[in-house]
């Protein structure tokens, strides 16, 4: 019965206790016994566990006998918890009628929470404020209520105080969901229509789709169609995660569940797309679907050139599970054969790199991340460039555009100066500054994305001792006075080291980068000249003196033992080296640009 369904999400900042609360729901409703309850059931992947964040969305169906005596079907839709995944979050929220706003009573509202609450409001969700960690001595329930109502403009009078860790207040939360979140609307008689909010690849059954049924119902044997690309599939299986995967004969209007339909690629069923009956299709797809475009690109190269094919196979497999990253082959004069890969953001990039290395046992060389630049040539063509070395000569560029973002940063007041300084350094334009409460301030800045992907987040964390939180939204492209800075080693430009920077900062950047490269490239048999150039103009030069000799004077028993250990270590280091011409360049040097700019 539709009136007994409640679809909801939990909005929370990292470490505010979302996974713990989800575990308590499963235990409280008997979906999982305490013995079975592993910590944080919903976070399946190792990496997620390690980083303490949720990357893929999940949905769990729970049966709950409420105080009114009726048994309700609660569908908890988990959302990814990082700024890179805003679109995925918005689609997960679109599949719900309500959201719990979970705030840590010791930390208050954070930037990402504000962004997600805004997404929930945009999707017209009922929001139930929940204040967690009231068991901690440093918790401030009244202060947290105050910040919820001030910052988020939400009525926090009946916010629920809980301790997810101790299970205190959890039944009240379940009752509030029943009482306040409306049941799904939707027409059971209308043609089948469902919103895709997650999908992944299963080796056995192909793609598994998580969907929210908007209208109609679905059962095995039905022919369905993906609305954006008109591809049709026959449904093989439907069911729900309880949290164990459980087959069902059908999914009904308003329900949330999974379906398998012999789909081979997750790219066929993108998040936000609409599924409908292939025979009796709906006329109106679910609104809000968009193609997610990668924002950040970098080159990935196997350090062992013989493993190019292995890298390609690994990318193919990873993409089966994650259609939001893209790759295409690219060749670098310096690095050989590799791939230019695009990601939703920096964290997404790190996750993919780590998975490639860990799960596929690859050793990768990474080039500095870059955004997608848009430029108008003198011939009037519009070009998109995600690799600085592909930039046409300056004489054929009429104008240059780069993506800007609106960054919202929440920080304790004492770090405000450090953050304003950082944003100024990164060509930021201040858009707002307001105090959330006596000790915390929210700062918003328009920033060029290329300045943000160069370790902005690391700098923000280190300058605020981890207290600042950041969220951003993409504003679009703006004209900028940009130039390409090339790095030359012994007179030869190294394509993998080129990058695009604002003209006003280019000379300084070039100088800093040349200095940094001097630190990072070990001395070799011959002198190495490092130059930074803009076009044909050399703007900086550093020299690494030649190593005059490199030979052990004594090499007997004990010396051999020590030498072997040193050689072992150097061999490990060499795996991350690339010979560029006659110069051995370590991996760190390719990322040197990330290490300059603020000193």
């Amino acid at each position: 019965m539709q009136s007994l369904i409640r679809n909801f999400s939990i909005i929370a900042h990292i470490d505010h206790g979302k996974s713990t609360l989800a575990d308590r729901f499963l235990e409280a409703t008997g979906a999982v016994t305490a013995r079975e309850a592993k910590e944080q059931i919903l976070d399946a992947m190792d990496l997620e566990r390690e980083r303490g964040i949720t990357i893929k969305a999940h949905a769990v169906a729970i049966r709950y006998k409420a105080q009114d005596g009726k048994t309700y079907a609660l569908h908890l839709i988990d959302t990814p918890g990082h700024v890179d995944f805003t679109y995925e979050v918005s689609r997960s929220l679109a599949a719900c009628e309500g959201a719990l706003l979970l705030v840590d009573a010791t930390q208050g509202v954070q930037a990402q929470t504000i962004a997600n609450v805004n997404l929930a409001m945009a999707n017209h969700l009922t929001i139930i404020p929940v204040i967690n960690k009231i068991d901690l001595a440093s918790s401030d329930i009244e202060g947290t209520k105050h910040s919820i109502s001030e910052v988020l403009q939400l009525d926090a009078a009946d916010a629920l105080p809980i301790s997810a860790k101790e299970g205190k207040g959890v039944p009240e939360v379940l009752e509030a969901i029943i009482a306040r979140v409306p049941p799904p609307s939707g027409d059971p008689q209308a043609p089948f229509k469902a919103l895709i909010f997650d999908s992944w690849f299963d080796n056995y059954q192909g793609v598994i789709v998580l969907a929210r049924l908007v209208d109609g119902s679905i059962r095995p044997g039905m022919k369905i169609k993906v609305m954006s690309n008109n591809r049709t599939f026959e449904v093989m299986e439907v069911g729900q995660f309880t949290p164990k995967r459980t087959k069902k004969t059908e999914l009904l209007t308003g329900e949330v569940g999974y379906l398998c339909a012999n789909m081979r690629e997750v790219a066929d069923v993108k998040i936000g797309d609409t599924l409908t009956d292939a025979v009796l299709p709906t006329s109106a797809p679910f609104p809000g679907y968009k193609e997610v475009k990668p924002l950040v690109f970098c080159g990935l190269y196997p350090t062992d050139t013989g493993r190019y094919e292995d890298l390609r196979d690994a990318l193919v497999k990873l993409r089966l599970n994650d259609s939001s990253f893209v790759y295409e082959p690219e060749t670098s004069l310096a690095l050989g054969f590799g791939f230019r890969c695009g990601f939703l953001g920096l964290l997404h990039m790190e996750i993919i790199q780590e998975r490639l290395e860990r799960e596929y046992n690859l050793t990768l060389l990474t080039t500095a991340p870059t955004v997608v630049y848009r430029l108008l040539t003198t011939k009037g063509e519009v070009l998109e460039v995600n690799n600085p070395s592909q930039l046409p000569p300056p004489s054929s560029i009429d104008s240059f555009e780069e993506p800007f973002i609106l960054a919202s940063i929440i920080t304790p007041e004492r770090y405000m100066g450090a953050i304003l300084q950082l944003c100024q350094e990164r060509r930021g334009i201040q858009k707002g500054l307001s105090f959330l409460d006596p000790t915390r301030v929210m700062i918003s800045y328009e920033l060029p994305l290329n300045e943000v992907i160069l370790d902005f987040y690391d700098k923000l964390k280190s300058r605020t001792q981890g207290y600042a939180s950041l969220d951003y939204e993409v504003l679009g492209y703006r004209n900028s006075d940009l130039v390409r800075l090339d790095i030359l080693l012994n007179g030869e430009a190294v394509d993998a080291l080129s990058f695009i920077t604002h003209k006003d900062r280019s000379v300084q950047r070039g100088r800093q980068l040349a200095e940094k490269m001097k630190e990072l490239i070990p001395r070799q048999m011959y002198e190495i000249a490092i130059q930074a150039a803009i076009g044909s103009k050399i703007v900086a030069r550093e020299t690494i003196g030649a190593m005059k000799k490199n030979v052990l004077a004594k090499c007997y028993g004990g010396d051999i033992t020590r030498k072997r250990k040193l050689l072992e270590k150097q061999k490990e280091g060499k795996k991350r080296m690339k010979a560029v011409g006659s110069v051995e360049v370590p991996q760190e040097a390719f990322l040197a640009i990330l290490k300059v700019g603020d000193e």
């Binding site: 490199n550 030979v551 052990l552 028993g557 004990g558 072997r564 050689l567 150097q570 061999k571």
Partner: protein
Amino acid sequence: MSPSDNNLGLYVHIPFCHRRCHFCAFYLEIARPDPMARFHSALIQEIALHRRQDSLNGRALQSIYFGGGTPTSLPVNQLAALLTLIRATWPTSPTTEITVEAHPTSVTERDLTVLADAGFNRISFGAESMTDKDFASIGRFGQVQDTAAAVQAAHRAGFENINLDLMYGLPGQLLQDWIHTLESLMTLTPSHISCYALTIEEGTRLAQDITRNLVLPPDDMLQLDMESAAEHFLAEAGFSRYEISNYAKPDYACRHNLLYWTDGEYLGLGPSAQSYLHGIRFGNIADLEAYTASLNDNHLPMTDRTILSASERQRDALVFGLRLLRGVPRKTIKAAERDHQIDELVAKGLLDTDRDRVRLTSLGRRYADTVAEQLF
């Protein structure tokens, strides 16, 4: 090649000196009666345990080497008795090379006679320099005339195989000082000379002095000039360079040290001594207390142990064999599967090949460790 075909040597580390020189990073203790007595009985126990375990499978020793430290910190009678014990434990032959290292001030002519009579047939003196002013900055005690006297006494005691260790690139040492050292040595008629470029080891007094700007660090270019001066001068004097730092009269190359560069096997006794037997590299703990405690407990005082695969052995044979001027046989390169790297190094002018062997060029000798890194 099966291990038993390899040459086999014994190294005994005597970890005592009366003072530590400023450049020295070896494991050693200041010579005092108590620890020396404990060391002596522990060493006897170590020999006994190896005999019980038959670590050397009854094979004969081609060389025995007492190094340190300063072996002659121990009473010479004790050294003589230890050698007798070793020769009773493992077979030797009349041609077995038996070396003892000595500090020139630590031995009298009588001592040297005792050592020669006991069977030591090679002696190695730490001369370091033949210019007195070089000694202060490296904290080397004694004087040049002590070296001369000790070498002459060694000749009289019956040693005809005498090595002198030298260092070049010492603080304040000029090229002409170095040539003077080489010239002065010739009157002492050694059969073997080791010339070591002064190397600043971490944690030494000399390293500290350099950090504090009390002493200038060695100048690479000057050391290279000194090296080439030594090579020319010694060649004229009938010494041929057979390893990066070693020169010998014909037939006087150090057989024990050759083991290290020819995949030979060796058992090391004493704290910090390293061994290479049956394709396994292992080392003794570098601490006298722990060493004696372990042996009192009837355990060999081993710390780390690395078992080498066949290809790692071949690789090591190649990497360390290249330190020899004669280089390594081509079959070693084949066995180590390094043909491709060898070609690259030849192209860079670091290696030279002919039909049978591969060796470092003179440029390659300057960058022997760079070559080693490429081949390891």
